[in-house]
């Protein structure tokens, strides 16, 4: 049986096997609110509290058996054995799972990116002087908006909404690549469930704790954004390169893994 037929059969199966996953894209749309309605401040644009859901989605789609408890209950197998013992090549199985994961994971960020084209430019208040200066330095075309007062906080960023949406999409893509590699990396570990939940906690609480520890400097996520804004081509090439290499590694890894 040819590979593409296997691939599409598996994609169709993936779409049907776990209806719950279709809820995830909705939660990934949070930045859409700010792009449509305007953000009250610059830092609000860096909403990262939903990133842990990417990790959760990855595990649910790539290796649901990581959540299984016992061997005899009818429902706990979640089909890992079933699908692996069908007439499929292991590499195609991993590719189809990954493709479906990236589709579900990226549909919202790409949607947000497209939505941002409706009002591409951004005017936002940046209250921190340090961040304001960093913004003006790193983002081409950004400028202070003249106000009646001498000290304006308002910054105009041409294509700023598109840039923010692209940054979110890039984050989702990079995180999804990392999640896929992580899932197959810990797969054979005895304590994989603990490792997995440790990462979930890290990803969900990490940004907040990181910001608290940083004090009055530029927060790490905004620093990364400025770097991304200044080196967009490099960032996208690196993410896509990691996607291709990560996928090849995962396929090789899965072929060696026991179920």
């Amino acid at each position: 049986m040819n590979l593409s037929k296997q691939f599409w059969a598996l994609i169709r199966y993936q779409a049907a096997v776990s209806p719950v996953v279709w809820v995830f894209p909705l939660s990934f749309c949070a930045p859409l609110i700010f792009i449509w309605r305007g953000a009250p401040s610059f830092s609000m644009l860096f909403f990262t509290q939903n990133l842990f859901l990417v990790v959760l989605l990855g595990a649910l789609l790539l290796a649901p058996e990581m959540f299984s408890q016992s061997s005899t209950n009818q429902t706990v197998g979640l089909g890992a054995e079933f699908i692996r013992t069908r007439a499929v090549d292991k590499s195609v199985l991993v590719r189809a799972k990954a493709a479906f994961f990236f589709i579900v994971g990226m549909v919202a960020p790409v949607g947000v990116l497209l939505a941002s084209l409706r009002s591409p430019d951004l005017r936002v208040a940046i209250y921190s002087r340090v961040i304001r200066l960093e913004c003006l330095r790193c983002i081409p075309g950004s400028a202070l908006v003249s106000d009646s007062g001498a000290h304006s906080n308002l910054v105009s960023i041409p294509l700023g909404n598109v840039l923010i949406a692209a940054w979110h999409a890039w984050q989702f893509l990079a995180l999804a690549v990392a999640v896929q590699v992580f899932v197959y990396l810990i797969y054979p570990c005895k304590h994989r469930r603990f490792l997995f939940w440790a990462v979930i906690i890290l990803v969900s609480l990490g940004p907040a704790i990181g910001s608290l520890l940083q004090g009055n400097t530029v927060p790490w996520d905004e620093r990364l954004f400025f770097y991304f804004a200044a080196h967009q081509a490099v960032a996208w090439i690196a993410a896509l390169g990691a996607l291709v290499l990560g996928q090849a590694w995962c396929e090789h890894r899965y072929a060696q893994l026991e179920q």
Binding site: R12, A16, S18, P19, F82, D89
Partner: protein
């Protein structure tokens, strides 16, 4: 087609340092139905999972139609049917999605058989798995294993988790179908009557060791329980050749043994200067004797 499509040679497997399968060797002839018996935890599922290519042996080799099942691809898997003891898939999926996967992946998919079984058991393609009874979930799992017309079929506890009536109903159909499918079947169970009804050959596994592997009739003919008594010089310490289990008391010795292996019971009685009483065992007796620690 290979003469012995299922071959295991000196295979061993441990989990966390605990041996589960110990140097197992067995060859199953093409077209035969092999009943795999053993207590819970004896290693049946581990053996079947090795044959299904889900795990690898630590030592030895496992072959399905001459191939290493862990490394086979889609082409070879067309001819290998497998029904897990575990649940089929995520219970939220609909029956039609499971059946569509089978139809999409297997060019030799037997749609007529699927339709007949689905109709017979009143399984609606629109139903989610969670709405099916346990018996119907097992039937669906069995359909997925047999509908591609495999040449080798592995069934791990096909009637697991079912009540007595459902087990009887489901198993009757499963056994009838595997008898007619013409493929080589290995099925595991701890229910002896299932094996007696269909198996050409049986293997009894105890503590990871295959204690016997042979045709049922030959097994019943060759294994006896022999009571040696009236010893003139006391009960001997030596075990009888071919013995599986020996129970000694003050003045007698009861041995479960293979009578055509080494010395016959009569020769042993003569050697030990005692009398003997031999009785045939039914499959349940044989299983219990061989499975005891």
């Amino acid at each position: 087609m290979s003469e012995t499509p299922i071959q295991i040679l000196n295979a061993s497997r441990s989990f966390d340092g605990v041996p589960v399968i110990r140097a197992m060797s067995v060859s199953i002839k093409a077209g035969s139905i092999y009943g795999f018996l053993g207590r819970n935890g004896s290693g049946k599922t581990t053996t079947i999972r090795m044959l299904a290519g889900l795990i690898r042996p630590d030592a030895g080799t496992v072959r399905i139609s001459g191939n290493d099942p862990f490394s086979i691809g889609a082409e070879e898997r067309q001819r290998l049917g497998y029904m897990s003891e575990r649940g089929l898939v995520n219970p939220l999926i609909r029956v039609k999605a499971v059946l569509r996967l089978g139809r999409d992946l297997y060019p030799s998919w037997n749609s007529e058989l699927v339709e007949a079984l689905v109709l017979k058991y009143g399984i609606s393609p629109q139903q989610r798995l969670t709405a099916l009874s346990q018996g119907n979930q097992r039937i669906l799992g069995f359909i997925m294993a047999i509908a591609p017309r495999p040449s080798v079929l592995l069934l791990d506890e096909p009637a697991a988790n079912l009540d007595v009536v459902a087990r009887r109903e489901v198993l009757d159909d499963i056994l009838e179908l595997i008898r007619d499918c013409g493929c080589t079947v290995l099925f595991s169970t701890h229910i002896l009557s299932d094996v007696e009804r269909v198996a050409d050959e049986i293997g009894i596994l105890a503590n990871g060791t295959l204690r016997v592997s042979e045709p049922l009739d030959s097994l019943k003919d060759s294994i006896r329980q022999v009571r040696f008594f009236g010893f003139k010089g006391g009960v001997p310490n030596a075990d009888a050749p071919g013995s599986f289990r020996t129970v000694r008391s003050k003045d007698e010795m009861t041995v479960t043994m293979r009578i055509n292996s080494g010395a016959t019971p009569e020769e042993l009685a003569s050697r030990w200067s005692c009398q003997l009483e031999s009785r045939a065992l039914n499959l349940e007796d044989i299983f219990v004797e061989l499975s005891r620690n």
